[in-house]
Symmetry: D2
Subunit: 139 residues, 4 copies
């Protein structure tokens, strides 16, 4: 299966559908069944000590799987998260962006499953891992 | 076991430790091994259509278990989330606050486990359920 | 919604579809959107010390949601588990049956979500909690 | 960190601690922070149609993380599973062994987190993925 969207198309679609988080995320690389996404960390993502908050990590993992799925199926805004399991394993590095590396493990007609590792930029020890299931609406 | 903090003490502690989300959450009821929390929904919690975002739902569930644990053990700011599993089951009602009902199922020396149901205010069908594990630092 | 199967019909269906585990489970109570199931503990479910193994606990939680779903939709053998999150919280009591109390939190056309608490018989502290998602085949 | 056990030591320890499942599992490869394990499928692991049951898949994932952790810390029998999240993504191939590929993402003093992909032997599409947390007893 080939990609159905370029990074520019994805970014334009994403900004239109989720204007509230415009500028928060950057698609670093989009490939078949996977994506690398960046959380451009700013004040509102932080907790005391300058580390990224849990909801911000969740949000990045969620967005990464969404983008990976849409890269494969095209802009289906109604694709929704049905389940997420996330393990917080290490404290993020203070004041560093977060990088999500996402792989789709399954892309069925109705359900997609993606795995995500989150890293503080410049570190190779994951701060969190997450698995998400997305429900894809029938055509 | 009796509660170690009142709602006022909890709110004051919370606002001090997490100034970034001051005003977002209200402790509605604090009891032994459980809490009812409100997410005071505002623009930044919303997605198009006026429904609460996934990260905001995650954040509310996370905070609810944190508050339930601290109610029992006192203000231990270093208590951290290690795992969360969350199912998103229904679309939240537009422009309604979210209410979290949390019960602690386990409160051990090192680990606590809490279950949370999230409701749009005024509805009795849960929009999401979550289970979270917190790691409690040794004294 | 009313139940579509009695306990006897459920047991007969279950024994036919899953002959490998015949006799392992007993439906104690079947109600709308919920079930109480027993694992009749025998040697093959145990670990050293006489406590029930993790896979046996998983199996009981899985079966409980399956039975709760089929109680509501009728005998759809192709209904399959897509996700399970389980927390093991306490050591089961040695040589005691396990009791699962399951509630369905969602019963949609395509997906059902159930919550399960597992208890050693005679104890009111849950040994485990689980949430499972089932995929329901289109008619 | 170097491995603290060989495959032979691991197998001997495992057979002693878990005599109930002796012969079910084979350690195919043991390395730093990871393991490849085989479920030697027999009648009791199957469901109608000859596919491996959910509890058997759970059991294999569970054992894989246990073995990966013990490979790094040595034979600590009291190391216990506290959480598992598992996604069932495809039907296993009938009458084929299952292969688990496990990587430890975190090995702390008190908690370890492992990721597992399960494959039917000879297939490169995972039938399931799982993440498990183990609690390591203090020395």
């Amino acid at each position: 299966m080939a990609l159905k969207m370029t990074i520019d198309e994805m970014t334009a679609f994403f900004d239109e559908v989720f204007p509230q988080v415009k500028g928060d995320f950057t698609v670093e690389a989009l490939e078949e069944m996977g994506v690398t996404m960046r959380l451009n960390v700013s004040e509102r993502h932080l907790r005391p000590g300058g580390t990224v908050s849990g909801p911000s990590m969740f949000g990045l993992a969620d967005v990464a799987v969404y983008v990976a799925v849409l890269g494969m199926i095209g802009p289906e805004a109604l694709t929704v998260t049905t389940n997420c399991s996330i393990d917080f394993m290490r404290k993020p590095v203070a004041n560093a962006d977060l990088i999500a590396k996402c792989k789709l493990l399954k892309l069925g007609r109705a359900l997609a499953v993606g795995d995500v590792l989150l890293f503080s930029e410049g570190s190779d020890k994951p701060v969190a891992r997450a698995s998400l299931t997305y429900s894809i609406p029938p055509k």
